[in-house]
Symmetry: C2
Subunit: 427 residues, 2 copies
């Protein structure tokens, strides 16, 4: 098979005609496929049904005797703080258990910083003119939506195989006091699958921000979501920060959205004890406490960090074949044509497909016309603008395997067609 | 028995000595009593244990086929929106089901208004200098804490037996564009027990605010929480607003915190369809959705507005004897002394005790020294400042009946002592 990049104009024209015909044939068959969001499949949700089959008496009393059905325990019941602390190799005092959405906790942290300021900061972010956030790209669209909603200027930072370009991060953070934060998904990053190297994590911990109120938003969404033979290693950023005396610089976020239920799980925030005390004071005005019955439900069902890791092996068994399907098809259909590259993640929820410049939006549109919904091109970038129009986020988990196979076949045809259109126009 | 107000100086001195001795005897017995917060008692929480005993299969699929365990349904599952709509005599399109705390929904609404603005408003509240909220007093301390946290100027509005002084409200709202909101608990108000009259509700609906972004925060926390022979009637404010074309002016809040579990219930926001659409757009950046499994749990357990009302009769049977205990003791120990008056609520969670000026903080301190925790004096007022130092919020629900009886006996002795100290000093 010949790479498209090596084809002559007549060869390209012939291939274009052939691929267009193939696309039209696929399009003629009505279908409704969705690879747009990082959603668990029903089979994954079924793994946690015992969460809902528990003796009520076990849910209503915490270890220290709190009636979980009543008000109180702003930071969460002790055993649930302990569970997340064990998972993150921290202390319960570092944990605030929230509601069911880690995104909501991140949003709240941004809101508090904007309106009230952060621990050690001299003024609220919102009183300092136009502030900035660094955004490693490609990244998570819902992160960028938060800072966009509040008018925060977002700056693209290239994501390397080791994590964000730390020279660039350091330059921005240490020179510009208007830079107040950075969005990170440090393990199996959304959508690139990259896990930050130890050196990168240490470089984060060693930052000396120009601002007195800079925060790293460390969204550890996929910390136990490996599905490969071996798990990526991520250094505990708080260990690195402790060496540098910079523990207050980090807010870490986790959730059980893709451990138990995306529509009924738990989220948690991890931070230095000083930050936790400060944040609880702000949070205490917002609520009397989150759902403690659901906290107990999770403690009883997941039991321990070890229990969580064992449970995640069951997820991996479901998720892994889907990634294999996607990667094998890409290897077969796209690799020989030389029109794209992509990551081979050992965990997480995404494959980031990087095609030729100027083909991503077209490819997504072609898929949509033929009945396959993808994440909008550009979504993994601030303001939805992919400067090269080349990256497409593929989310293999939600469809059943036969649907997924059909979806990725269609995707490959659309991707080839989009590439051929660009290549023939260029000749 | 002679009123303290009619006593001569020698009579007062003798009474002071006697009551002080009684107080010291009580104080000598160690006790730990709590009448500080409007918390349900364990027996009330036991009424909802079937919430936790349900067939898991009934919780995971909504009527329209949504897998509630997965992401989505930002405004809540249809049948849960319907449940709250029925309860409030509105349409499902008027309802957003939130997490487990209505306070959190109120907080979010204030935050969105500050940072992003409200539907129809020209600018965010936060960009308009020092803004103001009207605060009917006595009121709910956690409302006032939100506006205080954000530096909103709070203005006391006297609460009359018919609701807030609407002449004063109208004057502020219609003259001053910096007045952006008012905190209301329209039924069995916290702590006064007042239910707003139809005329008051209509006067709210007829307001013509000077600001284009004024909102009424209508915290209908006790809408089904009557325990008397008959329930107070509260006019549906949206009906009144519809006549006036002012539906966008109101955010209504409810929760099941005192229906099912305070630590694992549901909250909802009700608003005009236009407001709901606008708010969902803001909210969609904050979260992908709230806990839908818990929504289904509540739908299955409570079933209907009728089901909720039937369930609340069981609460009433537990709560009513506690209020009778408090009121009978106050009638016996305080009324003949002429040193205070209080409401006789037919629902809600509080008795508002109004003693002589300058006695509330002292009475609370005396109780505390003797082992009884009360809500801090001043709490029902903005900034925690009761101008007359006369109001104490009594929360009878949490203690068991014998503890409550002991607590209110102690309270009466402390109240008499505080009154006598003031009266003897004045002679």
């Amino acid at each position: 098979m010949k790479s498209y990049l090596d084809m002559s104009a007549p060869e390209l024209a012939a291939e274009l005609a052939a691929v267009r015909a193939a696309y039209e044939r696929l399009k003629a068959v009505p279908r409704k496929l969705d690879m747009s969001r990082g959603k668990p499949n029903g089979a994954q949700l079924d793994l946690s049904m015992d969460l809902l089959r528990q003796d009520p008496a076990w849910l209503t009393a915490s270890r220290k005797g709190t009636d979980t059905r009543n008000y109180g325990e702003l930071a969460g019941v002790d055993e649930c703080r302990q569970l997340f602390a064990d998972l993150l190799d921290l202390k319960p005092e570092n944990i605030i258990v929230g509601g069911q959405s880690s995104l909501n906790l991140m949003y709240d942290c941004v809101v508090w910083a904007l309106l009230l300021g952060v621990c050690g900061g001299s003024r609220p972010w919102g009183q300092q003119g136009r502030i900035k956030f660094l955004c490693p790209v490609p990244g998570y669209d819902r992160h960028f939506a938060i800072t966009q909603q509040f008018g925060v200027e977002m700056i693209n930072i290239p994501l390397l195989p080791t994590g964000p370009d730390m020279d660039l991060v350091r330059r921005y953070v240490e020179a510009d006091p208007q830079v107040k934060g950075i969005w990170c998904v440090p393990k199996y990053a959304n959508p690139s699958g990259v896990t930050y190297s130890d050196e990168t994590v240490r470089a984060f911990a060693a930052l000396r921000p120009a601002a007195d109120d800079f925060r790293i938003f460390w969204d550890n969404a996929y910390l136990v979501h490996g599905f490969g033979d071996e798990d990526d290693h991520l250094l505990n950023i708080f260990d690195a920060c402790r060496e540098q005396g910079t523990e207050n610089m980090v807010y870490e976020f986790v959730s059980t959205s893709k451990v138990t239920f995306a529509g009924g799980g738990l989220a948690a925030l991890a931070a230095s004890e000083e930050n936790v005390k400060f944040l609880l004071k702000q949070m205490g005005v917002q609520t009397i406490g989150y759902d403690k019955v659901n906290q107990m439900r999770h403690v009883r069902f997941l039991r321990s960090a070890e229990g969580i890791r064992a449970h995640m092996k069951k997820h991996a068994a479901i998720v892994r074949p889907k990634f294999e399907c996607v990667l094998q098809t890409l290897d077969r259909e796209i690799a020989p044509r030389g029109i794209a590259h992509w990551n081979r993640p050992k965990g997480g929820y995404f494959v980031a497909y990087e095609g030729l410049n100027g083909t991503a939006a077209r490819c997504v549109a072609l898929c949509k016309e033929a009945g396959l919904v993808l994440t909008p091109a550009g979504a993994p970038f601030p303001y939805g603008k992919d400067p090269a129009d080349s990256v497409i986020r593929i989310a293999p988990t939600y469809p059943d395997l036969p649907d997924l196979a059909a979806a990725i076949e269609l995707f490959c045809v659309a991707a080839r067609l989009a590439a051929l259109e660009v290549l023939t126009a260029a000749k």
